[in-house]
């Protein structure tokens, strides 16, 4: 190995690591607020990438019909619930607004000349399609059993993942897709060539991570979300609705997942089922952070990316094994050092 190869591998590792870090943070975020291990996170990544690819090819991604279908189910549940108690005007307005949004997206997908629109707008469209799926998913699959034990939530989460992989195959077909890079230029740093997409990924990831950190540690809204995670009843008594908290975190996770998908689509070919392994590597990062610590999880995820890149060079057959074996020493170290704060008095 010479310096040139090392920098290339390092570049790869860093880009992957940045994506894993974003995913690790989403997993952590959803887990701490709702106690759900968000296994379908990887599907948001593939849906993001494949939708972007479809839009760039100038055809409607079919995902808008899924959005419309789920929104309709969501709205009919809303109306059914209101019919049983009493009709509330503002709530009805909200329901109408949700349906209107889904219809608008369907309309946009079919009447816009998608391939001609600028790339930034294509990315925004993709996010607009995918982000609402997060809260709807929470509403339909998780909200009815929000008080269930964590194991039940995990099982539902796995089921959602399996279902979404199937839906992915149905919507996007078995072919892989790749998108155009955000910009074509490359940079020369010394005698090393830097791909511009690498810089894009690292830059966007850092911006997202820093803003997440500030939002969660410094603002009262972030603290309110964390408080819901610690004690649901306590949070409700302060007027913080756990339903709102759940929907907000799922929307955030869907956003981070889809954004990661859009970011990596130009450098890797993604298939309908590639999301799982990607989010699993983010999960390794989250475990390194003990599912609690955001900074350690982010650093862990970057380390996962680096180790993956370098093991690709030395032992490419064992790449995945090496990455996933990483979990074991951390779990041992964690279980030996863990401290429990007494919950009950």
């Amino acid at each position: 190995m010479n310096f040139q190869i090392a920098t290339l591998l390092g570049q790869d590792g860093l880009t992957n690591g940045a994506i894993y870090a974003l995913l690790a943070l989403s997993i952590l975020l959803v887990f701490t607020v709702t106690r759900i291990l968000l296994i379908p996170l990887g599907e948001f990544v593939t849906f993001g990438a494949l939708t972007m690819a479809a839009i760039q090819m100038g055809k409607a991604p079919v995902l808008e019909w899924l959005l419309l279908l789920l929104t309709t189910i969501d709205c009919s549940l809303d109306i059914y619930q209101q019919a049983r108690t009493r009709i509330d005007k503002t709530k009805l307005q909200k329901t109408a607004l949700k349906l209107g949004y889904a219809l608008l997206m369907v309309g946009l997908m079919h009447y816009l000349n998608l391939a001609e629109t600028p790339m930034f707008f294509q990315a925004v469209l993709t996010l607009c399609l995918i982000v609402p799926l997060g809260p709807i998913m929470y509403r339909l699959f998780f909200q009815p059993l929000a008080d269930a034990p964590a194991l039940v939530l995990l099982i539902v989460s796995i089921a959602t993942h399996v279902a979404m992989v199937g839906v992915g195959l149905l919507l996007f077909g078995p072919e892989g897709a790749r998108t155009q890079p955000f910009s074509d230029s490359g940079f020369r740093l010394g005698n090393v060539m830097l791909k511009s997409q690498t810089l894009w990924i690292i830059l966007v990831s850092i911006v997202l991570i820093v803003s997440l950190f500030i939002a969660f540690e410094r603002t009262l809204y972030g603290k309110a979300l964390r408080a819901t995670a610690v004690n649901r009843m306590g949070a409700r008594l302060q007027g913080i609705s756990p339903v709102f908290a759940g929907k907000a975190t799922f929307a955030l996770a869907a956003f981070l997942g889809a954004a990661s998908g859009i970011l990596i689509a130009p450098i890797t070919t993604l298939y309908y089922d590639s999301g799982f392994i990607i989010s699993l590597k983010g999960f390794v990062g989250a475990i390194i952070g003990g599912l609690i610590s955001y900074p350690i999880a982010a650093i862990g995820a970057v380390a996962v990316g680096m180790i993956e890149a370098f093991s690709m060079f030395w032992a490419s057959n064992y790449k995945e094994i090496i990455v996933f074996t990483l979990i074991i020493p951390f779990l041992i170290w964690r279980s030996m050092n863990s401290q429990h704060v007494e919950d009950e008095e």
């Binding site: 009262l220 409700r236 008594l237 913080i240 704060v341 008095e345």
Partner: protein
């Protein structure tokens, strides 16, 4: 009833709660006027905690809850919190892995959301009321002692500046000295014009601070009246207060 006005702040009519087929409350009527400290006493299992949970919306109920001139039937917790009702539950429900200061700040979440930036002042008031919380403001709430947790739970509820503060067994599991301190704080709060609905096992102390009292038995109001009168009622003395000496004798026998 030195400071209370004649406006009904809380009026509960025919409140019923059932756990499955078991009726926990069978038609409770209760009124609390603005500025009053009303206490609900009664034996274990009389439905005192159920009553508070139903008023707060934690439990589904039937019957009308009239709070601050608005009518609710089996409301949502968040709705009532938004209208200025605060509850310090029996289990405290603190955010144990967050700092004392964050716990208190989250108490003002709704005020913050509505753009009310004066909660810093309330925070200072609470710290001056509970100096112990100030000393421990950076500590995790889970590391506090029982009495400090109770202070934190009360302080957190007060951060929202509730019109009515409901407390469920605030003296539960606390040493007598700390109980005395907490009861002194209720008198302070009432002097500041906060209305309080207090559920207590410690009937003697509760009747001493309260204006009006309800005695709950088997999910129904068995007796009610001004606290001072009830404290001298022979039946109440017999069942709930006991003669101090006799009680101690029985305990040690």
């Amino acid at each position: 009833m030195n400071q209370s006005s004649n406006i009904d702040l809380l009026k509960v009519s025919d409140l019923k709660v059932a756990y499955g087929k078991v009726n926990a409350l069978t038609g409770i009527d209760l009124t609390l006027k603005e500025g009053q400290l009303v206490t609900v006493i009664g034996p274990n299992g009389a439905g005192k905690t159920t009553l508070l949970s139903a008023i707060m919306g934690v439990l589904p109920s039937s019957g009308i809850i009239r709070f601050d001139d608005k009518e609710f039937t089996s409301p949502e917790v968040e709705t009532l919190v938004g209208h200025g009702l605060g509850l310090v539950p029996e289990k405290r429900e603190l955010f144990t892995s967050m700092s004392v200061q964050d716990n208190l700040l989250l108490g003002a979440f709704l005020r913050y959301r509505k753009g009310d930036k004066t909660y810093d002042k309330t925070l200072a008031e609470i710290y001056s009321l509970f100096p112990r919380l100030w000393e421990r403001r950076q500590q995790q709430a889970g590391t506090l002692s029982g009495g400090e947790r109770q202070m934190l739970a009360i302080g957190r509820a007060m951060m929202s500046k509730p019109k009515l503060l409901m407390l469920d067994e605030p003296s539960l599991g606390l040493a007598p000295l700390i109980t005395r301190e907490i009861f002194r704080i209720f008198s302070d709060l009432r002097r500041q014009g906060v209305s309080i609905l207090l559920v207590e096992q410690n009937a003697r102390a509760a009747l001493r601070v309260a204006d009006y009292a309800y005695v709950l038995e088997g999910g129904q109001v068995a007796m009610q009246g001004p606290a001072a009168e009830l404290a001298n009622d022979p039946k109440v003395i017999e069942t709930y207060l006991g003669l101090a000496n006799k009680h101690q004798e029985l305990l040690s026998s």
